[in-house]
Symmetry: C2
Subunit: 300 residues, 2 copies
Amino acid sequence: MSGPITKVGYIGLGTMGAGIAGNLVKAGLAVTVWNRTPAKSAGLAARGAAVAGSLEELGRSGCEAIFLNLSDGPAVHEVLLGPGGLAAHLARGTVVIDNSTIGPQEAQQIAAELRGRGIEFLDAPVSGGQAGAAQGTLSIMVGGDEAVFLRGLPLFQAIGKSITHLGPVGMGQACKACNQVAVGCNLLGVCEAAALAKKLGVDPAKLVEVLGGGGAASQQLKNYGAKIFAGDLKPGFAVKLMLKDLGIAQRAADEVALPLEGAALAEKYLRAVAEAGGAELGTQAMSRALEERGKFRFSG
Amino acid sequence: MSGPITKVGYIGLGTMGAGIAGNLVKAGLAVTVWNRTPAKSAGLAARGAAVAGSLEELGRSGCEAIFLNLSDGPAVHEVLLGPGGLAAHLARGTVVIDNSTIGPQEAQQIAAELRGRGIEFLDAPVSGGQAGAAQGTLSIMVGGDEAVFLRGLPLFQAIGKSITHLGPVGMGQACKACNQVAVGCNLLGVCEAAALAKKLGVDPAKLVEVLGGGGAASQQLKNYGAKIFAGDLKPGFAVKLMLKDLGIAQRAADEVALPLEGAALAEKYLRAVAEAGGAELGTQAMSRALEERGKFRFSG
């Protein structure tokens, strides 16, 4: 542990990762990126990032912290600890910061394996969607040792607005799971209210205004209320990603024998959207599954 | 239709009605009250309201508008149109303003019967709870003829902060039903997230803060998140009232063949609370039904 971190790596340049890595560049850090599909690195290179040709090259580039933003726990484990994985090439004391949403226990297991090699780990899932990633206004839920969290804090401040240290490794993911449970139920509430309003002939603009001013107000209503009535299903957050997150929450709940029926209902409707060809649509497409019950199909 | 309304009546002095009637007095209107249980009129009399000895006396007191705030549609119908009901004693052109939460179709039927006697009707359910009623900061969802709405508007401004005219009679109730569907699902989301957080050991204060700053934010979280963790089940809004409102929403949805599974789930858990002796508790008691599944009982 020395001075402030100035050299960082970023692995996984999807819509979230690309935005976050861009903000690390913007903050004046020396950023080296790697992505399984090399073409995705071009945008970051144009913004001033170095591009590593392999995980080994990234691991040996002297980065003091390496971020990951991958699809699930097995992907994070494989990139770090699988054959040819990053961990073998990292110096002791390097901090791995995982922006992926994975299970709390998966995070704990990965952290334990890295610790055996002298590598630090923070689970740091985010919320705020693509816009938050691009604008550097994410909420970041961090689990890990206090000292390691403090070392990473300036980095988090470069990519997020609200940064919370929730306790030891896994607690960031635990909080994210709770967050997505509430998001799923709130979205369900918006979709059911909108479906009823359509059937009863309530004026959409007035409904959104009235509900937004009282006990029914929610960020999901603010984000998606008007879009649902307008039929605008462009993704702020894709159905397939929310399905993944709700699956993580359900598995975490299963492990502690807690049924989450509301979140399961949200998952059911989102799965119906995905099965009708809407996996890439925004989560507000749940409204279609509610209103049309099996009689819908998304083209393209 | 003449000048501004200066004389009003108020029927139904429960916690909501008493607060609203008090604000009508405070606004300088001549208020006459009537309540089935006469003792409940005493507080309003002390604040300057006249007390009618019967519905007939109230009906003949020259009020230009009469508010109602009763438990359900049949109660509103009976007070207005049952044997010895108010309508027989009202002058033509009197405006009946119903602050009760009843079904949209019930409101339409009552309005039609009153119209036959030359009496105007506005459905004007409110949201904002006991605090909003007392402080005059309610949201009021109004259905009825535009001209009648405009005649009532100064009265609404005396008792509410946000007043929305949603269209013809019944539309206020339709909007309220949608509102309660969203409230129920959002509350379910808060309770499920809190239950998972407890099981996973997430710090309560941090959870409420993090969820409140992102996509999981909701008024229900703001109102009840901390209370759920503190075990504070004092009513902001009683379980029995929410059950009534969700029943109205489900019947309205049934009439248009729309299943509302999320709202039904909220209803199921609230019913479990009521059956365990918690009907008078605040709606946040739903958290107990979720966490303890049949193994709980409220005393007193």
